[in-house]
């Protein structure tokens, strides 16, 4: 009797989870369905789960449409995401190591000055940052989109926590060999820390690719639009070409879905760090 109940409960749980999983996947399906359908199939009053015909030509139409700078926006987003990731990892990891390992009288004060900025989320300070960037003359430039976002206290903090737990014996051995801080860091510490770099890097990359508020504020010329800004302009426009909008959105999340499926292990590790240490 008791056994049967447990088995029933387990089956019920599986059914419920499967139903929820389907619900969670529906938005992705809608993206693909509408992206490959024609306008009539999207707006038909008797909506069908499958479109009547698949139109792969929507893809070509999207990139041929001169009114929608999709290819250029994709290029911008790729450049921004790659450069932001590299540009965040380098200074934040160096600083994290310095804070974790090099004895210095004022190290604690520096650490709290960095930590303090976590109290004020970057999104809240977009007006001040806009003021600075516009007085540097960086509005509508890649510099303006990238550089102000590079100094992430969160990334620095994660690296510091990680390096505090790095096995000291490895560094001691390097120092016996006569290596100073600099060469110890590059020859011993970095090569043995690939997972943490991957975890932070992937999180930063996703954040940069999906960012919207800052690119909206800074990317005022169409030349500086990222994929998100282009999609947003498209969504809020007077007349919307639905199948083109959906295929554009599908194209925009394709790179991230790939990153997700290939690097999920690191993303999960990064998420776990971000939550526990915050």
């Amino acid at each position: 009797m008791h056994d049967a109940l447990t088995r029933l409960g387990r089956a019920l749980r599986l059914v419920l989870l499967t139903a929820l999983a389907v619900l969670f996947l529906i938005p992705f399906y809608l993206l693909l369905r509408n992206g490959l359908a024609d306008e009539a199939d999207i707006t038909a009053p008797d909506w069908t789960f499958f479109p009547h015909r698949l139109h792969w030509s929507n893809l070509r139409e999207l990139f041929d449409d001169p009114g929608v700078p999709m290819a250029h926006a994709l290029l911008n987003s790729t450049l921004i995401a790659v450069l932001t990731t590299a540009g965040t990892l380098l200074p934040a990891s160096l600083a994290g190591y310095g804070l974790a390992r090099i004895p210095y009288r004022h190290a604690n004060a520096v650490f709290y000055a960095i930590l303090g900025t976590l109290l004020v989320p970057a999104a809240v300070t977009f007006v001040p940052s806009f003021v600075l960037v516009s007085s540097l003359g960086w509005v509508s430039s890649l510099r303006g989109l990238i550089v102000p976002t590079l100094f992430s206290a969160f990334a620095c903090f994660v690296f510091r926590q990680y390096f505090l737990g790095f096995p000291r014996e490895l560094e001691d051995a390097a120092q016996v060999d006569g290596l100073g801080y600099w060469r110890t860091y590059w020859r011993v510490v970095v090569p043995n820390s690939a997972p943490v770099f991957a975890a932070v890097g992937v999180i930063v990359f996703i954040g940069a690719w999906n960012a919207f508020l800052w690119p909206l504020v800074i990317g005022q010329d169409q030349d500086a639009w990222t994929v998100q800004v282009a999609l947003s302009a498209f969504t809020t426009a007077q007349t919307v070409n639905l199948h083109e909008l959906f295929i554009a959105a599908a194209v925009s999340i394709l790179p991230l879905l790939l990153v997700f499926l290939l690097l999920q292990r690191y993303i999960v590790a990064g998420v776990e760090r971000s939550g526990i240490d915050d």
């Binding site: 749980r13 707006t43 007006v127 001040p128 508020l213 504020v217 999609l231 639905l242 959906f246 998420v271």
Partner: protein
């Protein structure tokens, strides 16, 4: 000897700054300087300029705090938080508990629930606005309503009752739940098995009793982190509101969270950077205080584990 130790100290100080210098310089230039500048601007009349000369004292602060639209943006944040924080907390915890006890296909379910995190709020809002909750008959929600003979609902423009909240809250719920589920899964994995063994010996039945007395208390620090992050993120909500509600005619007067209000104040017509800066300073203070108070309240800093 003292000179040797002083040399050592100087050597360490030098290397400390070689490592941390670039980061600290960037942080000062792109976080502290703008903040300071904004405080300066907030005391001036700064229409369309970042180097104002007309000092106006607290006028900007008086104006923004007296502005009903600003106060209603804070109320919008409060309503949004009241919906999204408990909903995400409950769903992500439930999913984590269920996925954690699976014997097979655990990785599959974890991936499915986590996958929406890859989606941007822009794309999610687009799907919700143009397809799921499209106000005309072909929207998926209206199609389902149609099966039951109900009339289609204009989800985003109906204010009585405020159906737009359903759209706004479900976007974020879908997008962020997987992230917090991962945090809870990590927390569950850290609970030592001997706790459950001891509870079983004491006669606690698996299920509600074990959850109430073992699992839930053991997840305390994870719960604190999750609630803190949820509130901070809700405070910064902008993307989905902006993309769901604004259209070629602009943004409707309702459902404006603080950042949307600030966006139109500072960067809309007139570019009132003084008033916008005052708003940014007020919001920064609010979120800092909320974070600190929450931390104190939950007893953060008292390290457990």
């Amino acid at each position: 000897m003292p000179s040797a130790s002083r040399r050592r100290r100087r050597h360490h100080a030098l290397w400390f700054w070689v490592f941390t210098g670039p980061f600290v310089a960037g942080l000062v230039l792109f976080t502290y300087v703008p903040l300071g500048w904004s405080v300066f601007l907030s005391f001036h009349d700064a229409h369309n300029t970042v180097t104002p000369s007309h000092f106006t004292g607290l006028a900007n602060y008086r104006q923004i705090l007296g502005d009903p639209a600003f106060r209603s943006s804070l109320a919008t944040f409060a309503v949004f938080t009241a919906f999204i924080v408990p909903a995400t907390y409950a769903l992500s915890l439930a999913l984590a508990l269920a996925v954690n006890r699976l014997r097979f296909a655990r990785a599959f379910f974890r991936s499915v629930f986590f996958l929406p995190t890859a989606c941007s709020y822009v794309v999610a809002a687009l799907i919700w606005k143009m397809s799921l909750f499209n106000g005309v008959r072909f929207g998926l929600a209206n199609t389902v309503l149609g099966w039951f003979g109900a009339e289609p609902v204009a989800w985003l423009s109906t204010t009585h009752p405020p159906w737009y909240w359903l759209v706004i809250v479900t976007v974020r719920l879908w997008l962020q739940t997987g992230f917090y589920m991962i945090l809870f899964l990590a927390g569950l994995q850290r609970i030592p098995a001997r706790l459950y063994e001891a509870a079983a010996l004491d006669g606690a039945r698996p299920g509600w009793q074990t959850f109430r007395h073992i699992t839930f208390p053991a997840l305390r620090s994870t719960s604190v982190a999750v609630v803190l992050l949820l509130v901070i993120n809700a405070f910064q909500a902008f993307d989905e509101f902006f993309n769901l509600l604004s259209n070629a005619q602009g943004y409707p007067p309702y459902a404006r969270p603080p950042l949307v209000h600030l966006y139109y104040t500072a960067l809309g017509q007139g570019q009132d950077l003084g008033l916008g800066s005052a708003g940014a300073v007020v919001l920064a203070l609010i979120i800092a205080v909320v974070t600190v108070v929450q931390g104190r309240w939950f007893g953060l800093g008292r390290k457990e584990e």
